[in-house]
């Protein structure tokens, strides 16, 4: 495979990754700092035979991509915090109806309107738990412009494979950063599981718990509802057993596959002090690792934050402490605490600026 060298902004790389992955529907609403994704799609998508539509709000954006996905489209939207909050209800609908779609969240400072032009990672718990009820999703975090491209492609493939909304949880830093990127000529595409004609549309026979996809317009007459439904797709909202098994399956099909889809790097696994990072803080950790050149400092760099790949933590057998720099008040640090017996040192950073290497070194050298 050949590739070409470009110098792109993260948001451009995301849009180009989507186009390479075969995205043919984008429904969106302008919001800083994600708008360049929509602008790029508006310019490029119609020329490739796809559809770009600017909806009246983010609620409608999310609705439109779900509608498009059921016709077979590879559909996507992009937003940031306030828009993400508006999307929550229909994200739950996508999870309940097992609709493959991709949502990009270029995170900015919150809560509320917060810091529109500044970077943050404050939506990492919202992406996992923000809609009502129990469900599971997949969330990917890019730390480079290259990963904005690659993880967008991956998001489409995971969405189609697992029939679930997949989130590219970027941040303003990576979204607006310009850097070198190698653009491949071709990317891998994973198709949705084919549907066996004439069978109940939500019947699951495979151990992966994923039903085949009965696309609209193919004569399957599928009824899609956000209500608790049986394998025919018919509402059965007062059946306790059926509701339990449906919700359990929606969660298990993602959680059971966490290692199949896990994407992380383990550096210096014998180290005693171990950084864990995703998104923009990865870059500061890399600077510290580069400056220190100390094999007793480990680094777990995570790209698939949800479902959380907790087994990766066990690779650091000598770990005495995990240090977790995040641009929030310790959202994923708390998740890590659930899985380890050694201290977890959250290094929160609010305000929109990256951690400085000095701040990480200070945490590294403090007496625990």
């Amino acid at each position: 495979m050949t590739s070409r060298l470009e110098f792109w902004q993260g948001n451009t790389a995301c849009a180009e990754g989507a186009l390479a992955a075969g995205c043919n529907f984008f429904g969106g609403y302008p919001i800083t700092p994600s708008t360049e994704v929509a602008e790029h799609m508006a310019a490029k998508l119609p020329k490739k035979g796809g559809v770009f539509i600017q909806m009246e709000d983010e609620i409608a954006s999310m609705a439109s991509i779900i509608g498009a996905a059921w016709t077979g489209a590879r559909a996507m939207t992009a937003t940031s915090g306030p828009g993400f909050s508006l999307m929550m209800e229909n994200i739950g609908f996508a999870a309940m109806t097992e609709t493959p779609c991709v949502v990009v969240n270029v995170q900015r400072g919150g809560p509320s309107t917060g810091q529109p032009t500044m970077s943050a990672q404050g939506d990492m718990m919202q992406v996992r738990f923000g809609s009502h009820g129990d469900y599971a999703i997949i969330a990917l975090c890019p730390a480079t412009v290259q990963e904005m491209y690659e993880l967008t492609v991956k998001a489409f493939n995971l969405a189609d494979k697992y029939r679930v909304p997949v989130f590219l949880m970027a941040d303003e830093t990576i979204g607006h950063m310009r850097e070198k990127i190698l653009v491949p000529d071709k990317v891998d595409r994973v198709a949705r599981k084919p549907f066996v004609p004439g069978t109940p549309p939500f019947r699951v026979t495979d151990p992966d718990l994923i039903p085949g996809f009965p696309q609209f317009g193919t004569g399957e007459h599928v009824h899609v509802t956000g209500l608790t439904h049986d394998e025919r797709g018919y509402p059965c909202a007062t059946n306790p057993k059926l509701h339990g098994s449906l919700v359990k399956r929606l969660v298990d099909k993602i959680e059971n596959a966490r290692y199949e889809m896990a994407d992380y790097d383990v550096i210096n696994p014998a180290a005693e002090q171990v950084f864990i990072a995703y998104g923009a803080p990865v870059r500061t950790v890399q600077q510290v690792m580069h400056n220190k050149k100390d094999t007793n400092i480990g680094f777990l760099r995570i790209r698939t934050v949800w479902p959380f790949p907790e087994k990766a933590l066990a690779e650091f057998k000598n770990a005495k402490r995990f240090l977790v720099p995040e641009m929030n008040l310790g959202q994923i640090a708390r998740e890590i605490e659930r899985h380890v017996r050694v201290p977890v040192r959250s290094i929160p950073k609010l305000g929109g600026e990256l951690h400085t290497p000095a701040e990480l070194v200070e945490a590294l050298e403090e007496k625990s």
Partner: protein, 262 residues
């Protein structure tokens, strides 16, 4: 084929109350759809939440029963992604005019090629009878126990002002007229809006002196004012009684539409 062939028989019986008019509207809509000669696999019904929105669940096509108020936004995604599909939306006054009002006016503005049938029972039936944006002034509901103090929307005026290509209003009494109106809507490229005033004995009628279903349907008939007659009355300077509502074809035009295959 007849309209009956479009029903998903293994889903019956339905959940609508005794005396509900929604079934009448679904029958009329399906009769119109059937007369178009469309194939089931090329037709999609979309709805939001509420009594009206249960309709697609009883129809043997691909159907999308979505979130409250968002049916038109979902339908926009379906239609834009695959313009070959015929997309019909069932909605109600609460679903479309309250929580979904923004999607409604923007779909009218885009003039996207959808047909929207709004079952206007002037109340929230599914949740037990709360006031809606179309509850008439003075009417009783569980959230307007002293009479509704607010002015209701005229949904057809709203659709016309916002840019829809086809707009008409009928009632559950006018079954033949309604079927023709839905058909005209299906035939018109662009956004078609058909409002149907419908009796709701359980939530509206019981609180508003319609002890019998027939009394309410008769009220709807007696208070319907044909658009042609209304226009004549205006021309002759006559007063239009406040409790009358206009029925008939309110707008039909050929503005450029979105989502139509060239």
């Amino acid at each position: 084929m007849s309209y009956e062939d479009w029903y998903r028989e293994d889903r019956l019986p339905h959940i609508f109350c005794a005396g509900c008019g929604n079934g009448t509207i679904i029958n009329c809509t399906l009769a119109a759809v059937d007369s178009m000669g469309w194939k089931k696999e090329d037709t999609v019904f979309v709805s939001g939440i509420g009594c009206s929105s249960r309709a697609p669940g009883y129809i043997l096509t691909d159907s999308l029963h979505t979130t409250h108020g968002r049916a038109i936004a979902f339908a926009t995604g379906v239609k834009m992604a695959k313009p070959d599909l015929h997309v019909v939306v069932f909605t109600g006054d609460g679903d479309m005019a309250a929580i979904g009002g923004n999607h409604f006016i923007h779909a009218c503005r885009r003039n996207i090629d959808l047909t929207v049938v709004c079952m206007n029972n002037q109340i929230y039936g599914m949740t037990g009878g709360q006031g809606s944006p179309t509850t008439p002034k003075g009417c009783l509901s569980s959230t307007t126990p002293f009479g509704c103090a607010e002015t209701p929307f005229d949904l057809c005026d709203l659709a016309t002002a916002a840019g829809a290509n086809y707009v008409s209003r009928w009632t559950s009494y006018h079954v033949k007229e309604l079927e023709k109106a839905v058909k005209a809507g299906l035939e018109t490229p662009g956004f078609s809006f058909i409002e149907v005033l419908v009796q709701c004995p359980t939530a509206f009628g019981r609180r508003n002196k319609f002890r019998q279903v027939a009394d309410h349907v008769e009220y709807l008939r007696a208070h319907s004012l044909l658009k042609a007659k209304r226009d004549r009355m205006i021309e002759q300077g006559e007063d239009i009684p406040a409790d009358m509502f206009v029925v008939g074809e309110i707008m039909r035009r050929q503005r450029p539409a979105l989502g139509v295959k060239p």
